[in-house]
Symmetry: D2
Subunit: 358 residues, 4 copies
């Protein structure tokens, strides 16, 4: 079963609610003797941390991670690694109103219907706050993968404004508050998103993540395909509604010759001429860069009223006054990277288990 656990050999179990005392995760199955400390994890959490610009929620959380087990004298021991982050800025009063009403587009009603109860404070378990632990686990996953694997993400679309791929520059990603790989789009997004924020609205986005240096052979057909697990991993991120690998939906319009990534020999090894497949064929990594994109819908928490219903069955207009992200897709970039890292680490161990050393 996999309610709150992700992965098989490299397993991540997360827990915690937005406004509970703390959030945390347990990473089980990590190989022993990997150098690991809080300093290896914190930088990734800092990239995702809220409140760093006017374009993300103003919740102020240091998100300071603490390793509570599984590491001894700076090395992983092979036993479960427990990570905990205390919640410090809950401000429960902001959220009092949502106890009685359901935000359209939000998980409020779905949780209430399923469980007959919900922790409504800040979205409870369905809050994107949970993604902090994905990022923390992803940092450990990167250690498992080693320095030869480079995992990066970028925002490629906000609303209807897409990046110009001809200007793609990975080094730009860390230089603007949007993780934009195209410096030309930054002022456009700034102006557009300021308007969205001032209007009390929100907007969707598309994130692209890429893993380079992944060895061929990862992925376990038929139902443990690398792309199937990656699709689940990305779709499980809050607000994600679509996932594609390589050229994705565009391949529906391709003919066979347009789609086929031709092969040739180079230095005694087969290499691909193109990468329409996004580095995965038959559910198995090919050695090419793994490329995936996912769509993040706009936050349902906003100041613009939407017709809704209350817990007691009355029709109401819902307005969410609390802090929120005008474009939650921005902070989804490090989360997407982390999920890709976790999927790859899991498949690395699974492949090594079945097939042996690499």
């Amino acid at each position: 079963m996999s309610y709150n656990t992700f992965g098989h050999m490299f397993r991540v179990t997360t827990w915690g609610e937005s406004h509970g005392p703390a959030i945390g995760c347990v990473v089980d199955g990590c190989p022993p003797r990997l150098a690991l400390s809080e300093e290896d994890i914190q930088p990734f959490l800092d990239r995702r941390r809220p409140g760093q610009s006017s374009f993300t929620t103003q919740r102020r959380e240091p998100d300071e991670v603490r390793i509570c087990s599984g590491v001894f004298e700076g090395l992983s021991t092979g036993t479960p690694i427990s990570l905990v982050i205390e919640n410090t800025d809950q401000r429960s009063k902001d959220y009092g109103e949502i106890a009685q009403t359901f935000r359209p587009g939000h998980a409020d009603l779905a949780y209430q219907t399923k469980y007959g109860i919900r922790d409504y404070r800040g979205g409870g378990r369905s809050s994107a706050r949970e993604t902090a632990m994905r990022v923390a686990a992803g940092a450990i996953a990167r250690r498992v993968l080693g320095d030869g694997v480079k995992i990066r993400g970028a925002l490629v679309q906000i609303g209807q404004h897409e990046v110009d791929r001809s200007r793609w520059d990975w080094s730009e990603v860390e230089r603007n508050p949007f993780f934009a790989p195209d410096p030309g789009i930054v002022p456009i997004w700034e102006e557009y998103l300021s308007g969205i924020r001032k209007a009390g609205s929100s907007v969707g986005a598309v994130v692209e993540i890429v893993a380079e240096g992944v060895q061929p052979g990862l992925g376990a057909p038929i139902y443990g395909k690398l792309d199937a697990d990656l699709a689940a991993a990305l779709m499980s991120i809050n607000a994600v509604k679509a996932v594609e690998i390589g050229d994705g939906f565009a391949t529906a319009a391709y003919t066979g010759p347009e789609n086929a990534d031709a092969l040739r020999m180079q230095d005694g090894h087969p290499v691909f001429e193109t990468n329409h497949a996004g580095g995965i064929l038959g559910g198995i990594s090919t050695g090419q860069p793994i490329v995936a994109r996912f769509a993040v819908k706009p936050t349902s928490s906003m100041l613009i009223p939407v017709p809704s219903v209350s817990l007691s069955g009355e029709e109401v207009q819902v307005v969410t006054k609390g802090r929120h992200d005008p474009c939650v897709g921005i902070r989804a970039v490090p989360v997407g990277e982390a999920m890709l890292a976790c999927v790859l680490a899991d498949h690395l161990l699974r492949h090594r288990g079945q097939v042996g050393s690499l």
Copy 2:
């Protein structure tokens, strides 16, 4: 682990290669006392069967399913249900050539790299022949869901030719060889696909699947979300490169108010005004129709030569002479329906386990 098993409470394990003696599956966890016989499964297999028009592979397989266990006197017993289909039309001679070369865009090379061996006959394990067992398992899953749940699929795009949604008519789907819901697109696709076939080429497609009558509350956040499991299920189908739920990628361009499905009261129950969410919020079904789409890339087996390499490291031009589907997306329609049925059946049992009767 889930190499060749799908699901948790309703578990499907498939086995078999394209040109082995047989293919089969084991369905474990099926509730007892469901009426079940081969006659309940065969019609779904017949819809997927190859060779029914000039637009699918000419392989002639009766695909006759046999229940070997788990059913007694016409009722499921709660023990594992074993289904077997004998392979009758393998014609291995057609595929001799591919033993030595790798089809670009195909899983050939990936399997060889991963395992150091592959059954190259007809694609071996990576053949879409495996999907027959998904369809068979899906027929059992429909029994678990009961008559109140209606699962249907349609082809909505071939190459660049999309259906006109204003003409959508579910009753048309069974009246043409494409599962097209729009009678107006049928002659266009016929002409287009005849050209593709005559040119020895292939083309991609988009499939849409819908489940109506699904109770609210199915789906287990965070890592057993209904949409995450559905994304994995659909992405695991051969040649699928993209999955979206509800409005999917389009939501990236939406603002919050455009995306929010407003709620109102009707007969004492909350109802949604729209269904941008595709029936799933926070990973949990809302009671609205569940809507998903997936892109199927063009088959890599075709008569048009593509540059490739051989097992011995030579550069070659690969041409696949065997029978193949010019648009493998057509036969993916019943497969997509089956995977949706399996995911829902699994989540129905998982929900009942945790939360109790519904």
Copy 3:
């Protein structure tokens, strides 16, 4: 996979080392709306707590449990329940010596060989301290089972001294420091165990656990049999070397008629005349009391020297000076009860998932 997770629908993941900052567990899959607070868990932890008599380790731990998630306004929410206990009395200096040597009979060498590293402080992950979290999880499992199920345990043997079953009285169990159900054995055990303790030695024991009021039908043949899962659960407790259900090893000497629990009708229901089967037939609960016993070997930490080797490959005499339990089997009583509760809760949910309400 199940490295540090136990159960399927009711899933317990534990983490933590003997001398780390804290230990904890995550209980996932708990049904919603169960009344739950620290007060429901603490009494069970108190029964297992060390330092309550001269017959258990003198480590002083309040073992105060804190619920960090999954409970809202006194009710479970269906989301993961995180429990944490801070370690307060580590006294690492006691254990310095064992960093360099391996205690015969202990997991020291096995961990070192497997992982190439170990947290040697107090046994690290292999310490029986981990069982505190089993007891905490078991308290939640009891809530899932409800008041109709009564789970109790008793110590039935220390060294060669067995209880007299003709004097069995459950109410005695809480009146002596041994969980003995036979008041007549208490002075015998006191004298015997005082001698063991003064000699710096240790001794084994047998624990019996019983669950009454368990509904028939729990257990999922073939590989999810109730007794198979129970055997794994009990064997996974530190120092356990044997498990038996019902009459266990004695049945090897029985003839068929001696073993068969005859049936008769009573008030319209079939009842059993005897319970040699220990409440489980074919891996499924029969409605009779579930009875299991397990053997706990003597602690390997003791003051009597044993020939061993050091990390650097020298032959040494190992003496363990730290605090330890002269008969670790005593504190295994509440642990055994907890594991039985967890197994039953898991199977209750699994059964309800497959077969429906009961």
Copy 4:
């Protein structure tokens, strides 16, 4: 979940009923490129086959296994291996009576209560016929373990008659119909069991299994301990009521010094002086022989009448006229070996996955 699946990386799923058309299993996760054919599996099935002496059931089954997938040109491919055995000697008429009554000590009533239906022919799913597939899977597991690991089993007790361990000779095991390692016990067992058979009765037994050459480090604490998984594996065998590792229940009477397996250096490696632990410490293999024993209760199918009830609620005397094993423990020897092989193969792959090559 693990209803009818055993293992994690090396996964065995079995299916089939005693009197259905066939039984089978799917072995998933097998490493690729292992030499494998029916000839590697059949000899193990032949050892377990019924009807080979007057001391086992007279059902005549050739038990001829057929590999239906996962092997290509004599080598495993890494894809699921499907094994099928046709049932040829069902003789359903023998079992007509048991449709209406419940054999005391048998799973009949438990299945009926759990599922509300049962295939009563020959015990249906609960028949020991299922163990044929365990033996088949075990043969593949031995291939995974390689020739360096030797797994053997023997019968050590029938009724109250135990072997004399001072006369233990492994080569005797294949020379008598009991798998007895002690030639002196054979005439005693022959006479005793002939009496049991003639009386229409049955009797219990104890089986001992040993694996030599197992590398240290296998086993994944805490909840994937090698002995915990082995306990589940053995307890899941039909009619097994008890399991012990190493000295098992006897350790309850040991003091610490009696239990500790002292260590010394030999050729630069630590070696143990004794093996009370049965080759497992802390849930991890130590490199010593792994030793386990399990008790098999007497068959509940016998000619001696026992008071019971009928499906319609009447009190009856049950007599089972069909063919049966007077001592089902005999044929449990190869089954126990197979389960040990499967557990070790699974843990070998799991260990390799987490920790790397060995």
